[in-house]
Symmetry: C2
Subunit: 539 residues, 2 copies
């Protein structure tokens, strides 16, 4: 094995943790691949000039995380894991022959190396979910605090039924009145003019009012972000992103092979002081910054009004383009009323903010409708991309959403969602106070959205917590999935979703969490403490 490990005794990070991280990095870089044997503990210890205990602890840690496995006397091997999958995903297409599941498809060996089931972060989350279900065994009683989902059971399906019927009726009437069905024909790639016009008014609630020609309908912010990345970034282009970051955004930028430059977040969102430090450095720097200013995932942080204003100023001063991802600004749990913070776009006088809006988490996830708002010259490029890659967005779907949004009942529903989600957030916060007392845990207090971030006692290992929680029927998502750099040390954390659970379910979930943590801490966790210099991140 020609991999070089370099352990540094002068840092606060323990040697076995350094070794484990470096082995994981070698897997992600593709230098260690699935099935490869690791050297015996004694030999590696001698090579590295460390104690056998250090190597044994590193191997134990990796085994606990499911990264390696083996039996005494038979050697230790790299297992299939999200890390090996990530490595495969990063390898060039066709670079590696891969067994397929079907005999009929023997000819395809070597073909299907493009993406793999665990290649994307979303895929890793599915893999972890599957694994947890297998450990627990009973899908009915498992408690999933990892979803990031809204609660669709709150949705007024009868009103959607009327919205669809009314949209169909109005489309037919419009065609009869104009004696023409040309509205059904290929037209502007921007999408339905009626919905775009309505949205111009709709966005005044967030402090800006675009023109219809500045709006491009999409199937949601995943398509929107993908379009922005494909049209504005070339492989290798640098991009600023929050650390931790929304995992689907990381998926998009990693697929586009952009170079993500992480900027840490705190309770008020993006750390502008750290951003400005990077911007002031003379080095080549990103021209694009991607940010979720309201209900940031995974932290739940919402950027203050003042910080929003300053971020747009920085963008102007340092010639940055901002991508603002908004998926639920309507769900702001204000103390005083229903006033959401103004969008970054509302501070934008130079056309620097590309505002992405999704209605999928607000209405329901299988709706699949959203839009991009951008200055006309930028939007023109995005429209060309949309035209080439997917054409326009569905007219009947746009009309159904228009009916749904423009009914006065919609605002009442928003109030109801806000109250209900806030009640669940409060329930979770109270439960964390009660059940995790004395456990060295901290958590964020989100003012919007569906999730909060729970910071675990620093001596615990995230993957171990996730696995042991699964043994108690609790499904968690490790903070690692939201990190830009795989394997970089950070405060162990899990994202907790409160929006799609009743207070009773939350109580049961937090109880399982508490007993998991207490068992690990008192019954022999993974050992010594680990430095956690910052709130969310080791800067």
């Amino acid at each position: 094995m020609s991999i070089t490990f370099s352990l540094d005794k002068s840092t606060r990070t323990l040697l076995y943790q350094q070794l484990a991280e470096q082995i994981k990095s070698a897997i992600v870089r593709g230098e260690l691949t699935e099935g490869m044997q690791l050297p015996p503990v004694r030999r590696l210890a001698a090579e590295l000039g460390v104690s056998t205990t250090t190597v044994a602890q590193a191997y134990d840690l990796l085994a606990t995380e499911g990264v390696i496995g083996g039996h005494v006397g038979r050697g230790t091997y790299i297992l299939s894991s999200p890390l090996t999958a990530l490595a495969r995903a990063r390898a060039p297409f066709g670079g590696e022959a891969q067994a397929t599941t079907s005999q009929r498809l023997d000819w395809a060996a070597g073909w299907l190396g493009g993406l793999s089931p665990q290649a994307s972060r979303a895929g890793q989350l599915q893999w972890l979910t599957q694994r947890a279900l297998e450990r627990w065994g009973d899908p009915a009683t498992i408690l999933n605090l990892s979803s990031g989902y809204p609660d669709v059971s709150l949705f007024p399906i009868e009103r959607w039924e009327r919205s669809m019927a009314r949209a169909g009726r109005l489309l037919a009437e419009e065609a009869r009145q104009a004696s023409s069905l040309q509205v059904l024909q290929y037209g502007s790639t921007l999408g339905d003019e009626a919905l775009r016009s309505y949205l111009c008014q709709y966005f005044t609630r967030f402090g800006f009012q675009p023109e219809p020609r500045e709006i491009l309908l999409t199937s949601g912010n995943q398509q929107g972000l993908d379009l922005v990345a494909r049209v504005l970034l070339s492989p290798g282009d640098p991009v600023f992103i929050e650390e931790p970051a929304y995992l689907a955004a990381l998926d998009i930028f990693e697929q586009q092979r952009a170079a993500c430059h992480p900027i840490p977040v705190d309770e008020e969102g993006l750390r502008l002081d750290l951003l400005e430090q990077v911007l002031e450095a003379p080095a080549a720097r990103p021209r694009l910054l991607c940010v979720v200013p309201t209900a940031h995932s995974p932290t739940g942080a919402t950027m203050s009004c003042e910080r929003r204003r300053r971020l747009v100023e920085l963008a102007c001063r340092y010639n940055l383009l901002i991508v603002e991802d908004d998926y639920c600004s309507e769900l702001f749990y204000s103390e005083t009323g229903c006033e959401p913070p103004p969008a970054l776009r509302s501070f934008d006088r130079e056309g620097r903010v590309i505002y992405l809006k999704s209605f999928n988490k607000l209405i329901f996830p299988t709706l699949r409708l959203g839009c991009i708002v951008a200055a006309a010259p930028i939007l023109a490029r995005l429209v060309e991309g949309k035209q080439a890659f997917a054409r326009g967005t569905s007219l009947p779907l746009a009309r159904a959403l228009l009916e749904h949004l423009s009914d006065p009942a919609f605002e009442e529903e928003l109030c109801f969602y806000r109250q209900e989600y806030r009640r669940r957030r409060d329930a979770l916060l109270n439960l964390l106070e009660e059940e995790l007392a004395g456990l060295e845990c901290r958590w964020t207090v989100p003012m919007a959205g569906f999730n909060l971030l729970l910071l675990l006692p620093p001596q615990l290992q995230e993957y171990e917590v996730v696995e042991k929680a699964a043994d108690r029927g609790l499904l968690l998502v490790p903070g690692q999935l939201f990190r830009v750099e795989n394997g970089q040390p950070h405060c162990p954390s899990v994202r907790l979703t409160f929006a799609d659970k009743s207070p009773e379910q939350l109580r049961e979930g937090v109880k399982r969490l508490s007993s998991t943590l207490r068992a690990l801490l008192h019954g022999g966790g993974s050992g010594q403490g680990r430095a956690s210099p910052d709130l969310f991140t080791a800067v």
Copy 2:
């Protein structure tokens, strides 16, 4: 100017045509850019060792095509045209500063070089349409035979109104019966199970019956093709494509920077003899072939049943994966009945055919729904891509389509479409016979779809015909847009759409076409004859 032109006096292509083609190629390669001055006729003639007439004819031809312009005594310059746009699109992002239309966006200069309004073939078509409208001046009386569109005025909008209402009602009922709205939640990326199950039965009309897990819903074949290209091809990967080819497929492959290997088509579709010649050569060859076996665009050719069977055999023998693009197999104008030819997928025993189905041209273009059918291991990769790039497909839209397709009235509507489109096809064929008699024109006789290809007298120039037709209020699309290689000599042609025109409109259109051609042929066209060795292509 350091461009080298190499004229070959031994070929059948005239010297001035060679020079014109080489200048166009230099523009596409980016060696000659917008605003550059060409050498004076006399100097270039001396440099090349040809007569001044040759250079002057080449310049005249390029001026007629809108590629260059100028005035006597003031020099000749490269103009903005689809060729310069194509060059810009091929340049790496950010490589060229570009003026923007908004003062506010001065900072964005140099940013927006990604795509450009004329970068895609679809964009070039829009550009030509715009130009024709400007030449004619009256949108109301212009006759557009270039659209490639179905006739939406035939669509039963009242039935769609009922489909939407019923889909909404059934969704609500389903939720009430299951006491759960989980159907609205994020679920399988494949898309709605109910529609996928129905489609399994639906596709038996084309000779195959997939399982629901082999179907991935998309927004149409543009998204389907883009997904296939992104997941299965890396930049530079070779791909077989028909010559001439569907322009949107060329757009996708050119955006993915795949290397397109053209295989000519004839009246029965792809020339398998020529494909096999390439496959037998020992050189590295594509592993992916993209084909439109029914109602190929632009020729309208439908592949015979025997040729379909042989193509799949070739794919097995030479380890090829086939992408089958089906947008209107339902609209087969059989002499004997309504039996469409079996899909390539129906001959596939090894999972080699990825079948793309769009309902957008069959139902209406702003519907935006289609699917991909592929063997499970291949589909799994496409699903990962769809999950990462755009998530699932709209549930309410899927249910509305399901209602619309599963109503018995749908089959009657299909019969009506077939009769009506066939009537229009026959009208166009008769008109071509009558009006173009004695003009050395030939045309294809499509058995399905919306278009045919008209082969022009070989001595005419496509772009000149298109421009002069615009002067008579007739909008045509030049065959050039469907060619894999820009500037490669081919028989001049235009695609004619009959589906969205009444017989009266077709009569007026063909009259304008006839007078355009006659004026060019008798009133001084662009000069000497030009070789046209094959039906559609110069092999």
